[in-house]
Every structure is written in C-alpha cells, then in structure tokens.
C-alpha cells in the first residue's frame, strides 16, 4: 500500500513541477513586454529598461523560473501588472467565488447522477431506463453556457426568481450570495451529471454481469441486496475516475460560466488578464488551477486504494 501511495505522490509532484515549467515556458514566448505594458506607450526605452531590471525580467531564464517557482511555494505570486496589487490578493478575493461554485456544482452533479445511474442500471431495458438515458443523452449534448443562457431566460428574465448575474459578495449575507451562485452551479452541474450518470450506469451493468454477482445471488440474496452490497462498490472505480476528470472540466467550465453570469471569480480574472496581457496573473491562476486538478487526481488515486484491496497489497 505504501509503495502505491508513494508512487502516486511522486508522480503527482513530478507532474506539478513539469506543469509549472510548461506554464512558465508558454508565457515566456507570448509576445509583449510586461514592463512596457505597465508603463504605457509614452514611456522611454530607459524607463522600460529600469523597470525590467526591477522586475527581474533581464535575469537568465532558469533564475527567473526558480525565482517564480520559489515565490509560488511561499504564496508570493508577484504583483499584477495592471492592478498593481499582489496577485495573491486578487486570487484570495476571487477564489471565494470560484471554489464554492465548483464545489456546489460537483456535489450537485454527484447527487443527481449516482441515483439516476443506479435506477437505470437496475431497470435496464425498461421504460424508466430508456427515459432516464434519453434525458442524459440530451444533457451530454447541451453546452453549459447555452444552458446557462436558457436558465437565465427562464428563471431570471421570465420568472424573476433569481438574479440574472453578478455577485453581491459574501458580506451581503450567505443566502443572497448562494442565491446568485445557484443558477451558475446548476448550469455547470447538469451536463456533468448526465455524463456521470451514464458512466455509473454502464459501470454497474458491467459489474452486474460478473461471476461474483451470480455467486451472491446463489447465496440467496435478493437482487436489491446484491446491487447494494456487491455491485455498487465495484462500480465505484470507474465512477471515481470520471469524478476526478470532471473536476478539471468544472474548473474550465467556471471560466465560461463566470463570464455568462458576470461572476467575479478566478475564471473571469484569468480571462480578463489574458486580454490585458497581465501575464503574472495568468501564470498564477493557471498554476493554481493545474495544482487543484493534480491534487484532485491524487485524491482519486488514493481513494482507489480505499475501494480496491488489490491495490493495497500490490503496487
């Protein structure tokens, strides 16, 4: 077990380091001089040069990378070129929107998907299964930002139940804040739930065809008990895999959804930073999101070991 955990941990760390190099390298080749951007078009070449030295932009590549990576570790992401505030402050301000949004969406999609998958698998081939799977076919096909527009039209424009966009901030109270995250979370969650439900169903059906299910039935357990006691846990492995992948999708999804709902989250921050060529912000936020994805995948790997005893004893 320790060998497995250790191997996964090392892979995760190595991926993180490589990812940081990629992010750094990609942003190095982006055209545009941040010093000139900060000073504006009227600045003289000398002024720009002085600022470049101040910002450490003239140091060798490797030094700049190490400096930047070291900064990341101590949560010192540098200063935003356009806002002239520490990036960490921007991130802190925005993450309280994005993180709850992603988590609510993830929870929502899991809560919807697993029961639907279970229901469909246990009545496969019957009308209930056909209807549920037809619905998920649509769910998979719907782009989340269009779904978001339709939700806005229905609930905000037509029924006027929730705000069409914007975020009052947590200081305005938990309920108003949650209320403004509700539609975005639903828009993010439903298409993901459709995918997850299909995976859960097919994983369950595959498990239900296994020999040990027959052994369990030959013991005298009714079908329902077999489903809960024997099938579900074995079907968890592919479901966990997809859950891990979905987290990455959700993070990416927040970028677009935050733009649809005018939510001041990380996605909107990175998108604005890209258009303003605020590279340090882009670097930091991308790194943060990548680290989150790697961490979630590590958690998924570890939970495999909890679910599957074979991984615990073998590497």
């Amino acid at each position: 077990m320790t060998a497995y955990l250790l191997k996964r941990l090392i892979i995760a760390l190595a991926t993180l380091v490589l990812a940081s190099m990629v992010v750094f390298a990609v942003l190095e080749i982006i055209p545009g001089d941040p010093a000139r951007l900060m000073l504006g078009l009227n600045a003289s070449a000398d002024q720009v040069e002085v600022l470049r030295n101040q910002m450490g932009l003239n140091a060798p590549l490797a030094i700049r990378y190490l400096h930047w990576a070291g900064g990341l570790l101590s949560l010192d992401f540098g200063r935003s070129y356009t806002y002239s505030v520490p990036v960490i402050d921007l991130v802190r301000e925005r993450i309280v929107v994005s993180l709850p949004l992603a988590l609510i969406a993830l929870a929502l999609s899991t809560i919807i998907a697993i029961p639907v998958g279970l229901y469909s698998a246990s009545r496969r081939g019957r009308a209930g299964d056909a209807i549920a799977m037809g619905a998920t076919q649509f769910g998979v096909a719907v782009p989340n930002f269009w779904f978001a527009l339709m939700l806005i039209y229905l609930f905000a424009v037509w029924l006027r139940l929730v705000p069409a966009g914007g975020f009052p901030g947590w200081s305005a109270g938990v309920w108003p804040a949650l209320k403004s995250l509700l539609l975005p979370a639903v828009a993010l969650a439903l298409p993901q739930a459709a995918i997850l439900a299909r995976v859960a169903r097919s994983a369950l059906i595959e498990v239900l065809n296994e020999d040990y299910i027959r052994t369990a039935r030959a013991k005298g357990l009714p079908y329902r008990a077999v489903l809960w006691r024997h099938a579900l846990r074995n079907a968890m492995i592919p479901v966990l895999t997809i859950l891990g992948l979905q987290f990455a999708f959700l993070l990416a999804g927040t970028i677009i959804i935050e733009n649809v709902f005018y939510l001041p989250g990380l996605g909107r921050l990175v998108f604005q930073a890209i258009t303003q060529r605020d590279l340090i912000v882009v670097e930091s936020v991308v790194m943060l999101l990548v680290a989150a994805v790697i961490a979630v995948n590590l958690i998924v790997d570890l939970s495999y070991a909890v679910v599957d005893p074979r991984l615990r004893s073998r590497q």
Binding site: Y212, T215, K219, H230, R233, Q315
Partner: protein, 540 residues
C-alpha cells in the same frame, strides 16, 4: 423419495430450444453425475433449478425440490431456498468471488442473511466452515481478500459459501475444470466428504467422464439438450448400451495408433536445453526494495531427438509454459543455453532467429484466442511463411495454405473464411495447419487439447499422431493431463517447482512413478478404466 425431481423439463432462450424433455432426479445423500459435451445444456439445467436463468429464458415441465414446485415458486421463495437448502459451486474460481470483500464477509453474508444471526455468530460459523473446507483460520484469517488466495483456495471458499448452511442439495457445475489434476482430486475429495457428512444430494456437472465415474452413484448423459441415457454409473459405463455413451467412453480412453516409436539418442539431438534458468523480478515492496526474484524455471536440461514425441507434465504454475516460451524464443532465459539443430538460439536477435523459427512452430491451448478474428484463414495459416527468406508469390502461397489445410483434414474452400466460422475442434486443426506450413522439425504444443470436448480431443490427438508418423515432426507436448501424455508421447518429463524431477519412457513413468511429484500427479489423474473397475468391485 427423491430430493430433486426434474420431469419433462424443456427450456428455450428466445426462440432457441436449449433443453428438450429432460428427466433427472437426485436423492438425499446421492451423487448424480450430469455429463455432456459443451452446448449440451448441462449448465442451463443447473441454473433452472436455481432459477437464475437469463431473462429471456422460458422453462416448461416440472421441477420439484423437497416438495416445492420450483418453476412456480416466487422470487422470495427462491431467495429463501438459495444458499440455505440449495448451494451452488461454479466453474471459474478466479472470478466467482467479489474482489473487494474479504472471504470472511463473503462466507458469513449468506449465514447472516438466512439465519438472522449476529455478526459475531455468523463469523464464528464462517470460520468453522472455512476450517472444514481446508482453510484454517490460523493460516487463512477471515480478513483475507480473494486475490490473496490461489485458484484452488478460492474454490474452497466458494464451496464454503455454498455449504455454509448445510444445504440439502449442492449443485457443482464443472467445479474442477479450471484446476490442475492434483487440486482437482483434493476438491473432489472435499465434495465427497461433505456429501457423506451432511447426507447432502450432489448434482455434479462435468464434461469429464472419468471424474463423474469416480464421484457419481448414477449418471445422466445429456446431448443437445436431450437425455441420451441415465442409470447406475458402473453399469451404464461398463455395458455402454447407448451408442452415444459408447462413443463418449471410447473417446475418453482413445489412444491413437503410432506404430513407429522414436527413441531418444537416435542420431544428433534436435533440441538441447542445458541448465536453463528463468528468474522474474520480485514484486516491488517499496520504491527501493524488491522482494526476492521468483525462479520460474530452475536449472532445467533436456533434449529431444528428431521425430521424438516428448511430454512435459506438471501442475499449474510449475514453470512448464515458461520453459516452452524460452524454447520458442518468445522469452529470454536468465542463464543456460538452448540449442536447436546444433545452433545456440539463446541471446540471438530476431533476425538471427529466422532460420530456427522456420523449423520450430507452436500450437496453443485456446482454439478461440489463437487466431486474429479480423483476418481470413489464408492469411492466418500463412503467417509463419514470414520467416522464409524467399516470400512465396500469392498463388504459391495459396497453394501452400491449401496443402496444409488438406493435411489437417480441411478443404481449400476454408481459406476464405474467418476463424469464427469454425468450431473449436476445427480451429485447433487450423492451428496445426499453421504450425506445419513451414514443414518444421519441432512443434511445441501447449495444452493443445485441454479446451476440447472428448470426442473432438480424440480426433485431434489422432491428427497429431498421424503428422508425427507421416512428416516425422518432433513434439514437445505441455500438459497436466496424463491421459494425453500417455496417448501420444514416447517420453515424459515431470516438472515440479521449476525443476525437472523425473524423466523416462512414458509408460514406465506413468505406471511406476518414482518422485513425489510424479506420484501425486499419477494418483490424482482421473482414469476411466480404473474408475469403472473400482465401482464394479465395490458393488460386487
């Protein structure tokens, strides 16, 4: 009164009839053997009794168990019967247990379900049951997971699950087919003892006439879903009144005619294996530590003369397949040398091996897995022609394939078919055609008949014998089945734990084994002659 009474049972899945008017009964404490070749409907009969049939299956007739009409019983009634009064053991022990639950949980589960006892009580009974089937808690605690057990041990767990509540009837569907002969004998002994202890009825399903004869008081012979003959085991098999019974019995004991016998030491040896060892790296324990290497083959030496037929026998996991792969240069040896036709083949590159490959071919066990389903027979059988220096032209190639097919009893028209259009026996013929197309000097055959029904097996053995006589091909037969070794080989090598522990003329080794390993194999091997004689003797 009988415990299980099947009367006029017919079964169809969709529009396909599976069973036609099957009659069968099992009395308490009686062992009923249900014999038939693949597709005869044996397993479906068992699943009908358990009411675990596929959804589309429709059964008619009457199945009475202990006074209960099974075909009319509700699912709740069946749940109460299954695992409590009727237990079932399946063929494939490797997949029959849930991989994420401990063996203790899996045995105790049925006990708790049926008796409503506490967890502690159920675990206590589970522990006793596992102890009874030969898995004492000191060595196999309840907290073990299935993947930590071997195939034989897993089958014991399955038997413990099935017998935990002392059922009145146990159904065992090919319970030992996936195990080697020694394990088979152990499992059969266990089943026999459990029958006596609990006065349990046993419905033993098997394709192996010898196994059934050793176990069953009465037998029912099934073919294409119909009962051919039923009755007392010893009488049915000694009298062989029904032609199909005779056919089955004769096929089980078939020995192909081979007038010319090649002895070792005639001229230069064709194959020489000298001190060959194969280690596999141990499992990684942590990042820097590995378990000690596993020695699969340990300092093995042997030689085969041209035209000689040699058997390599041993239990599963003894290293015989690894050895075969090294001889075929499909696996590297850790040390030692293998010489073929006087030339060393160990440590050679693929290009240097070409001439050797031309004279050395292979036949595998699984007639279904050994052909690429996407290619036609012509291409498949012609595959070894790849090693020829001069590739034959298409017309010439077809000619060669047609000739090889002819030699194995297939027609030239079969060339344009896909492998799935052939039966298992025909596929094994294709496999042989592929092996002989380059006119090799040596064919290594890895359990070439163990996946085949007895009547087909007899035909394939005949074919092997014929090609040996006609073309002078030497064979290395890898098998755990002594009947096969006896039928077709001149010499036998007994392998145990990676070493060759005994060698000699086949009849001598099999009749008078010297080593412990050989003795165990011989004692465990089911033998129809012996079994019938013993039964007749018992009955006087």
């Amino acid at each position: 009164m009988s415990l299980l009474e099947i009367e006029n049972l017919s079964l169809a899945i969709g529009d396909t009839p599976i069973l036609k008017g099957v009659e069968l009964s099992v009395a308490p404490g009686e062992v009923m053997g249900l014999v038939g070749e693949s597709g005869s409907g044996k397993s479906m009969t068992a699943l009908t009794v358990m009411q675990l049939l596929p959804f589309a299956a429709r059964a008619t007739g009457r199945v009475t168990f202990d006074g209960i009409d099974i075909l009319a019983a509700s699912e709740d009634q069946m749940c109460a019967l299954r695992g409590d009064d009727i237990g079932m053991v399946f063929q494939e022990p490797m997949t029959a247990l849930n991989p994420v639950k401990t063996i203790g949980e899996q045995v105790a589960e049925g006990i708790r379900w049926h008796t409503r006892s506490s967890r502690a009580e159920a675990e206590d009974r589970a522990r006793k049951m596992l102890d009874r089937v030969g898995l004492p808690a000191a060595l196999f605690p309840l907290s073990r997971y299935p993947h930590e057990l071997s195939g034989g041990q897993r089958q014991r767990v399955v038997i413990a699950i099935a017998c935990a509540l002392k059922p009145k009837l146990l159904i065992a569907d090919e319970p030992t087919t996936a195990l080697d002969v020694v394990l088979q004998a152990q499992i059969l002994d266990l089943l026999r003892d459990l029958v006596v202890e609990n006065r349990m009825g046993l419905l033993l399903i098997s394709h192996d006439l010898a196994v059934v004869t050793e176990m069953a008081d009465r037998i029912t012979i099934l073919r294409h879903g119909e009962v051919m003959e039923a009755g007392d085991t010893a009488r049915t098999l000694s009298e062989q009144l029904h032609p199909y019974t005779r056919q089955l019995a004769q096929a089980s004991m078939h020995v192909p005619a081979r007038p010319r016998v090649h002895e070792a030491g005639q001229g230069k040896p064709l194959l020489q294996v000298e001190g060959v060892t194969r280690d596999y790296p141990g499992r990684r324990m942590s990042l820097f530590k590995r378990a000690t290497a596993v020695r699969a083959v340990d300092d093995v030496s042997l030689s085969i003369a041209p035209g000689q037929s040699v058997a390599l026998v041993g239990r599963s996991g003894c290293g015989k397949s690894t050895l075969a792969r090294m001889i075929l240069a499909l696996d590297r040896s850790t040390s030692g040398t293998i010489r073929f036709r006087g030339e060393t083949i160990t440590g050679k590159s693929e290009a240097e091996l070409k001439p050797a490959r031309r004279d050395m071919q292979v036949v595998f066990q699984d007639p279904y897995g050994s052909f690429d389903p996407r290619q036609k027979v012509e291409k498949l059988v012609a595959e070894p022609l790849h090693v020829l220096d001069k590739k034959p032209a298409p017309a010439e190639r077809r000619e060669m394939v047609a000739h090889a097919l002819h030699e194995v009893g297939l027609g030239p028209r079969d060339m344009d078919k896909y492998p799935h259009e052939f039966s298992g026996g025909q596929r094994q013929r294709l496999s042989i055609a592929r092996a002989i197309i380059t006119r090799p000097k040596l064919v290594v055959a890895d359990e070439p008949v163990s996946a085949l029904d007895v009547s087909i097996r007899a035909q394939i053995l005949d074919l092997f014998a014929e090609l040996n006589q006609k073309l002078g091909i030497a064979y290395l037969f890898i098998t755990h089945d002594l009947t096969v070794a006896r039928a077709i080989t001149d010499e036998v090598l007994v392998m145990h734990d990676g070493r060759i522990v005994e060698r000699g003329k086949t009849s001598e080794v099999l009749d008078h084994p010297q080593s412990e390993a050989a003795k165990a194999l011989v004692a465990a091997a089911p033998d129809l002659h012996r079994a019938i004689a013993r039964r007749l003797q018992e009955q006087g």
